[in-house]
Amino acid sequence: MIFTSGIIRAADEVDDPTMVDEEEVRQSPFWDWEFAFNALPEMLMAFIEVTLVVTVLGTLIAAVLGLVIAILIRVLPAPLAWIVKWLANFIRMTPIVVQLIFVFWAFLGVIDNLTVGIIVFGVHYATYMSEVYRAGIESVPKGQWEATTALSMSAARTWRKVIIPQALRSTVPSLGNYAISMFKDTPFLLVIMVAEMVTVAGEIGAPAFRYTEVYVIAGLIFLAASYPTALLVNRLEKRLAYAH
């Protein structure tokens, strides 16, 4: 409380009208329903326009690119496969925040911030998902490959019709978890000045110096989106298991 009153005393000295009155803060209840309801629409909009867009598009990029990376590492000649593998390792082993800032400045004025976010999230998580796919591909029994050779199936047909469908079966839960994890990383978009839901929450809370409502709402929105996704992944996993 010493900290708070320190700030307020300083505010009194400069007589800044936007600053919060000490009395008002003390009197306000811990939870203000009206404030919460007023904050909700703007936060939901930010959630849909930024958080959801980045997660959905990022997941799509990650799911496709991850599979491409995993297959390239398997089919390319050794030196090229090695380059792809280490590029992927490099991206996976460096923080996404650093990658966001780097790509943002590298392409400043060329790509808009939201697109930078989508691409960086997609590529970063693609390197994680490629590992999941790799494990899935390795889990396909050797006999399946041998059967495709015995039937003289083309490499493309072997991958598309035999290996990938069987590899995917075991990867669905992990891929779903990475999608949820990406979703929870979206607040990092703050570092490239993309106002996603959590940043918007802070902006709404600041003038009134009220943060409890907005951050609780942000948490609930995350939960409301993550939990059904997790259930969906679970159901998909079961359905894939029964299909065989």
Partner: protein, 262 residues
């Protein structure tokens, strides 16, 4: 049973197979005539399965040459140098060879019908309609006419192996490789699968290279039996001779051990 002609359809010339330092096959020379049924017997580790896998190009040939219909399968001798053949040539020859595996290796993500028509349609370029008609008649032949739309995992081992036989036959192979096809099956269904193969042997002219521990079956269908030990042919001959009066001591010992079990 059709009699084999004199054209060699498979020829092994100075074949050697090593896994690292481990020599599995050495100086192996033999040929199989068109329509001939040859059974390879011998203790495990004697290299007989490796021979089938080399013909199917599932293992890399480390020395010598294999010819299919007189054409080199993996390497050719060009001016005294051993050079690999083109992928295209290898693939062309490979489509004439079919294989049935010990573990069936059906594609679990496809139905029985899809398993059977996949290669005829997409490798041989048959029309889907023709391939389906053929698949149904093959399923009839292996005694599973009502399983076309079943998934392999819903079938018993014996049923899966019968589908695998149908899948291999759907390619109209000149050469059929049978790699311990009954070893993973329950004893009571072994007879069904062997009867289907007997029927295939009796009604077609397909060349068969067989690895099996079912000696009665080997005796019934083979024109020739080859006894392997330590990567070499110990003895070979007509099944009647090999099974009733083997000359080599190693063959006698092997057969008494195997037949003693039955």
């Amino acid at each position: 049973m059709p009699t084999p002609t004199d054209t060699p359809v498979i020829e092994f010339v100075d074949v050697e197979k090593r896994f690292g330092d481990n020599v599995v096959l050495k100086d192996l020379n033999f040929s199989v005539a068109r329509g001939e049924r040859v059974t390879l017997i011998g203790p495990s580790g004697s290299g007989k399965t490796t021979i089938l896998r080399l013909v199917m190009t599932l293992e890399e040939l480390t020395g010598g040459y294999i010819y299919i219909d007189g054409q080199p399968l993996t390497h050719e001798n060009r001016d005294g140098k051993r050079v690999p053949v083109s992928k295209k040539q290898q693939k062309k020859l490979r489509t004439r060879i079919g294989m049935v595996f010990q573990q069936f290796n059906l594609f679990p993500n496809m139905t029985v019908l899809e398993n059977i028509i996949e290669a005829p349609v997409h490798v041989l370029g048959q029309s889907k309609k023709d391939a389906i008609t053929k698949a149904h008649s093959l399923l009839e032949q292996v005694g599973l006419p009502d399983k076309a739309n079943a998934h392999p995992t819903s079938l018993s081992g014996g049923q899966q192996q019968r589908v695998a036989i149908a899948r291999a036959l759907a390619m109209d192979p000149e050469i059929l490789l049978l790699d311990e096809v009954t070893s993973a099956l329950d004893p009571e269904v072994v007879g069904d699968v062997l009867n289907i193969l007997r029927q295939v042997a009796d009604t077609t002219n397909v060349t068969m290279l067989i690895v099996t521990h079912e000696m009665a079956f080997a005796r019934d269908v083979s024109h020739k039996v080859m006894m392997f030990d330590g990567g070499r042919v110990v003895e070979e001959g007509h099944p009647d001779k090999i099974f009733t009066s083997p000359e080599h001591e190693r063959t006698q010992r092997f057969l008494s051990a195997v037949l003693g079990d039955q």
